[in-house]
């Protein structure tokens, strides 16, 4: 029986960025859903099981870091990767967020496609590991 591809949620208020991430991740074997709204993202993670969510740090309806915390609360098995055209890796919000495990990775825009694929792969493996442990 063919295994279902891992599901990835993309949350970015730029439709063209959603398009780009979908065109990077789908050919790599993931089932991708995208939304430009933080509120819709929260509805989606409750309704469907996503291994990974790529979340933009700045969304118009909900702060990206706040959304990340809410996703982790409502869907603990979903790993979050933060993407940002605003923050940099060395910003305190990012270093503290990584340290506290709020998100498992951070990618600054513009990025290499390989960064996205590598992060997706790591996140899916981590989600599988958590699932096998009964988490």
């Amino acid at each position: 029986m063919e295994q279902e591809p891992p599901r990835i949620l993309v949350v970015d208020d730029e439709p063209d960025m959603c398009w780009a991430l979908e065109n990077i991740l789908r050919p790599a074997g993931y089932a991708v859903t995208d939304t430009t709204s933080g509120a819709e993202a929260l509805e989606l993670v409750v309704r469907e099981r996503y291994a990974v969510a790529f979340v933009d740090a700045k969304l118009p309806d909900l702060d990206g870091l706040e959304l990340t915390a809410l996703i982790r609360q409502q869907s603990p098995h979903t790993a979050v990767v933060l993407i940002s055209g605003y923050f940099y890796e060395e910003d305190r919000s990012i270093t503290e967020g990584l340290q506290k495990g709020l998100f498992i990775g951070f990618i600054a825009k513009p990025f290499d496609l390989e960064e996205i694929r590598r992060m997706a792969c790591q996140a899916v493996e981590r989600a599988r590991g958590v699932e096998e442990q009964g988490g």
């Binding site: 960025m17 780009a20 702060d63 055209g85 919000s93 709020l102 825009k109 513009p110 290499d112 496609l113």
Partner: protein
């Protein structure tokens, strides 16, 4: 700026990876074109902002700035059950400055006041002319107050007591810098459990006296 650059970069990389996919090629070319136009607009606005200070300085009606800021934040204040009291001195003299930068200061101080009152409270914004002939604006809240050991640090860059993701502590530092650029002063008084008052003083514009 990094958002359109991200789209341009991703589209160009996709083009390199899939040169034979005609549909993807067309989509990527369109995305690059649109994002380049957007980036160009952002640069144009940044260049306008970077113009010499004298081109952005003008007479400022502080009441107009405050009213606009309060209107922009009205919904958020209502959500947080913050009651607004305005005590505006009639015929407040104008100041020389940048209305956009002064609005940034007002926004920062009002949002800080609201964040100090998570269960709701009262924000008082009061304006008057001081005995020394300056314009004074006070932003007072009935929030949790600032502990004495933090008072000396609150204008320091990156100092914040907010949790991760709720602010990186640059707002007051930037406000301090803006007021200094306007030849003014900004001070703070606070009592834990009672509230905080920020006082901004700015020199009156010469022909407003």
């Amino acid at each position: 700026m990094r958002n359109p650059l991200g789209i341009i970069s991703a589209s160009a990389q996709l083009l390199l990876e899939h040169p034979d996919d005609a549909e993807l090629r067309s989509q990527c070319a369109n995305k690059i074109y649109t994002a380049t136009e957007r980036a160009s607009l952002i640069i144009e606005n940044l260049l306008k902002f970077a113009r010499p200070q004298s081109e952005r300085i003008k007479p400022v009606d502080l009441h107009a700035v405050l009213e606009e800021t309060l209107a922009l934040l009205a919904h958020q204040m209502a959500l947080q059950k913050v009651t607004l009291q305005k005590q505006f001195q009639p015929n407040l003299p104008r100041v020389h400055g940048s209305p956009e930068m002064l609005q940034q200061v007002a926004t920062n101080l009002i949002l800080n006041a609201c964040n100090a009152m998570p269960e709701g409270g009262t924000l008082t914004v009061a304006t008057r002319t001081t005995e020394a002939g300056q314009v004074q604006i006070r932003f007072s809240d009935t929030g949790r107050g600032i502990p004495p050991e933090h008072l000396s640090k609150i204008f320091d860059p990156f100092f914040t007591t907010m949790p991760v993701g709720k602010g990186i502590g640059l707002g007051l530092s930037i406000s301090y810098s803006i007021i200094q650029q306007h030849q003014g002063t900004i001070g703070v008084e606070s009592q834990v459990g009672q509230g905080t008052t920020f006082t901004v003083r700015l020199p009156v514009m010469a022909d407003s006296r």
